[in-house]
Symmetry: C2
Subunit: 343 residues, 2 copies
Amino acid sequence: MNLKELAGILGLSQTTVSRALNGYPEVREATRKRVMEAANIHNYKPDMRAKGLATGRSMAIGHVVPLSTQHEMVNPVFADFIAGAGEIYSDNGYDILLSVVADVDEENAYRKFRSGRSVDGVIIHGPHAEDPRIALLTELNIPFVVHGRAGDNEDRYNWVDVNNRHSFLRATEFLLDLGHKRIGLLNGLESMDFARRRREGYAAALLARDIPIDPDLMAAGEMTEELGFRNAKRMLAESAPPTAFLVSSMSMAIGARRAISDAGKTLGRDVSVVIHDDDLSYLKNGSNIPIFTAARSPVRQAGRLCAEMLLEIIANPDTEYRNVLLESELMVGMSTGPAPKQD
Amino acid sequence: MNLKELAGILGLSQTTVSRALNGYPEVREATRKRVMEAANIHNYKPDMRAKGLATGRSMAIGHVVPLSTQHEMVNPVFADFIAGAGEIYSDNGYDILLSVVADVDEENAYRKFRSGRSVDGVIIHGPHAEDPRIALLTELNIPFVVHGRAGDNEDRYNWVDVNNRHSFLRATEFLLDLGHKRIGLLNGLESMDFARRRREGYAAALLARDIPIDPDLMAAGEMTEELGFRNAKRMLAESAPPTAFLVSSMSMAIGARRAISDAGKTLGRDVSVVIHDDDLSYLKNGSNIPIFTAARSPVRQAGRLCAEMLLEIIANPDTEYRNVLLESELMVGMSTGPAPKQD
DNA sequence: GTGAAAGCGCTAACAT
DNA sequence: ATGTTAGCGCTTTCAC
């Protein structure tokens, strides 16, 4: 069933039917009602491609998922982000066009989005410090929002980020307040913008209290359980091991937890602070685990905000650059120590 | 840059340029070469919508992500599956069209795929026992492959599944061989086909050795760490607690591990067997954790196979129904007990 | 081997 | 308030 057929049945022109269906004001209400009903009865739904061809819109948002040749891991926050953004998209009739590509082909994927006119806008995931995609998409003139930030030109593009620096500063202060002096940092890859900011926050908190920064207590790498385990283990084997860990993801925290347990440390006194995604269910009960506080990073909410921002930009391209800085939420899971300082 | 412009530059007709670009045989090689080069230089890429409109193909595969109103969790294997399928898709010029919808709207999402002609085929994720989507998609006459199976009409649709029943049977036998008599089952929601099969495997292994099936040792629910923790805790508190656990996902295993640790059990003797996804990095070192063997379920590989199968079906619609049954791989992570029986 | 023209299903400018 | 017509950018007969 297409427009022509439907119009034929109704004894109307395609134009009128189209107008009635798309809410144009100049059609009589009685006609609109009749058209709507017929469309329902015959289960008419427009061909999105033809619609796109005619209007220049595709009603889809592009997300590129790079599969690294090095470390084959899908961005762990991707699913949660999509869940949040997807809510907004479907409320507005948009779909997601996913392009899974080898990371070396990423640029080409965006170019194809552009020239194939297959999307109305894109979201950039996992920005590096100084990310080339910003310049590329600006050049391609395709509306985009960055989930995160890329370096320091923060006023030259649209973004939604969580305050990673402040989160880690706050979390470090919290550990310092508990009396810890040697705090191990298990960070993500520091080529990533978020990891760089996290380290800055960590370092700033230490410096503010004149505690020297020990390179041996800092590790950066992929956020896997394996690396969390290995790096924590290495640090714990040093002559002056850390008494607490600041961890950059759930997986690493689990690895660190294992290393702590292997090293025979008593769980109640070892502390990890983890900043990560929405699932912090493990905090909701008072069990005896070394992770007892976390900075909850609202990934799903970020997804919603990115999507809202992008749709607005698409609808109204000439607005100023916009951005949102979310605060993560410091959560306490058990009470073996004082509550975190709320600032 | 569109076809018309490119043809203009070359002094050829659109037809010839189109034919040259799409590998039709009737164009002279010299011409083809000239066209290809010009296309490259001017960075010509076809408008996919127009192409789709003309050919009837959209070069996209639909995946529907239902967001349950009850339990807001994204299918945990989704990211890994997409990574595998995405490889195949992008090799063949396909993209993924993702529709995130409230689960009650799922049927409508497929209907929109159909009438909007936005996809050439779909993958069904997380099939329930007797899944209505099979009938729906068959009726809509849209090519599809199921990741998993839906009930017992296995010869009436295309599917790629892992042998859940056999995995859990084998894993249970393994625990029995170690001398365990009371084995706790922490299963997924048993409305899901895979969970039902896993329970069958578990039950069959016990029955074969005349071990009664104790309902108190079986739990089914969402595969979260929280539920793994709670159910393991409950079982461990019983008068005759389990001496081993069979766990249906990584998250639940982590929860169970915590419950075991809380209960003060010695780690070396408590056993969990987990069947889950690709990331089993935690097994690669011999640390002292209660999870020491796992059935590795090749999600990414399943993604590849589903994608390959679907593309073949799309290319050749009149083939017989096809299916692939993958075996999970039983892995041993530490050697506190005998190696698993390989059968 | 190449080109002209029709058409895919829709929207939008221009009538009436 | 409704209809006519001309595209959107591509593929695909049909002609030469």
